[in-house]
Amino acid sequence: MIRNSASEMAAKLAAGETTSVVLTQAHLDRIAAVDTDVHAFLYVDTEGALAQAAAVDAKRAKGEKLSPLAGVPLALKDVMAQKGIPTTCGSKILEGWRPPYDSTVVANLKKNDIVILGKTNMDEFAMGSSTENSAYGPTHNPWDLTRIPGGSGGGSSAALAAFEAPLAIGTDTGGSIRQPAAVTGTVGVKPTYGGVSRYGLVAFSSSLDQAGPCARTVLDAALLHEAIAGHDPKDATSINAPVPQVVTAAKSGDVKGMKIGVVKELNGDGYQPGVRARFEESLELLAKAGAEIVEVSAPNFEYALAAYYLIAPSECSSNLARFDAMRYGLRVGDIDGASAESVMNLTREVGFGKEVKRRIILGTYALSSGYYDAYYGSAQKVRTLITQDFTKAFERADVLVSPTCPTTAFKIGEKANDPLAMYLNDIATIPVNMAGIGGMSLPSGLADEDGLPVGFQIMSPVMKDERMYSVGAALEAALLSKWGAPLLDKAPIMGGVR
């Protein structure tokens, strides 16, 4: 049962073939069996999950009208505030902190009776592409435990691939939903910026951060997308417009007559042969399904990575100033006569990891007077150029596509001491965040050279998220009929449970 899709589980619940308590317990058992190896979870809320499941079962027994995913379990990235549940963001500075409120995403999950199993591991404050920057140790890729599950949301992607949860929440600032999805053979969607509320999402880079759904199928992602999306008065940057019809799009999967633009600059040199082969094959399948493939050019994308590593650290240096040891979280060195400043300095030294410090210092530099125009100011201009490239490209195509990442999952430790090599992972995902548009990654097969999953990225214009679901569903269906079984069936079986 745990290998079913979320929609299959929902159907079984609706038909009375199982209960949410049974389903939730099955996932808790699975977590107990495999998570010592995978380390996807930082906290498992056994009691809370079972109580929530029992409450849904009671509602169903009374004949109440329930939402489509009611009773289905989910794994929550530890960057999302959940009332009374430890929320660490993968950082020592928040160890033991229990938020006194729910983020809007969590409130929406609860409203939809989606059962929250626990909190998943992540790179500290979502800064990283491998989950190695978690203060609580790395997460392992279920396809090969010596490899990274992507990042920053590697706990969420690994939980899906290891069948510890059929649904998960991620957040994506430069690719943190899509890259983990790509390297674990799962589906991840970064909605249009402002499509899902950021209230209660612990901020890293406010103009780039966006929460979104993670799942094993495109339809499951769409169902979760609709459950969490929508206008929120608590987030001033939340878009006040109807949620795109992503479920309808995912159900139809119709791409006839659609123009699909291949971004010339997001392919070629630096992309692994197996990644390119799977990409070409997916394009052929989409053409067979009735789409028209065109080539588009986005000349300024080559500057996106540089601009991102100025904008994100700048915003992070400002956002993380709130961790000052005064109102919540860690406090170090509070001895008689110590000044507030020395307590802050000592707390932040102990509480933050290497990558977080690196970015705070970089951002502090980029924003300092004398360097502001040359660095942060120039990066903001590049942001304009990237957005213009997208606007032009979307005049010629309904969606744009590329490989999600240049390579498959690398080994844990391989890039840990080379920040620039690590940053290159996000080269194809970052432009989407800069322009605030939608992006999806879905599995396109395994690379011949290493047998590891490859991701296919679909990008759609602002608030046209339904388009990436149409294309994603069409490609997923074509690949499924080619493979004869879901890609994850090829992953190693863990914990002896089939």
Binding site: P100, A306, I361
Partner: protein
Amino acid sequence: MSSLSRDDVAKLAGLARIEMSEEELVNLSKEFTVILDAVARVQEVAGADVEATSHPLPLRNVFRPDVVVPSLTPEEALSGAPAQEEQRFRVPQILGEE
């Protein structure tokens, strides 16, 4: 070529309120030489005629009705406090002795 000396990093760490060991200061200064070279590329295309984008949405002055809604109780607001006293956050000394 951009670079940051060990003293530059120490000054930035002070501004960012992060205590740093000598080793960290030296390592970061080395890393920044490489990182700054890579990010300085943005200057190649950022001409005077290009407008800056600070945010992806064209939103300005978002308001909501001024209605009182429930908020955290003092107990909830203080629930994560490292130290508290008389329903207030207790913080280390902020002002000097003089």
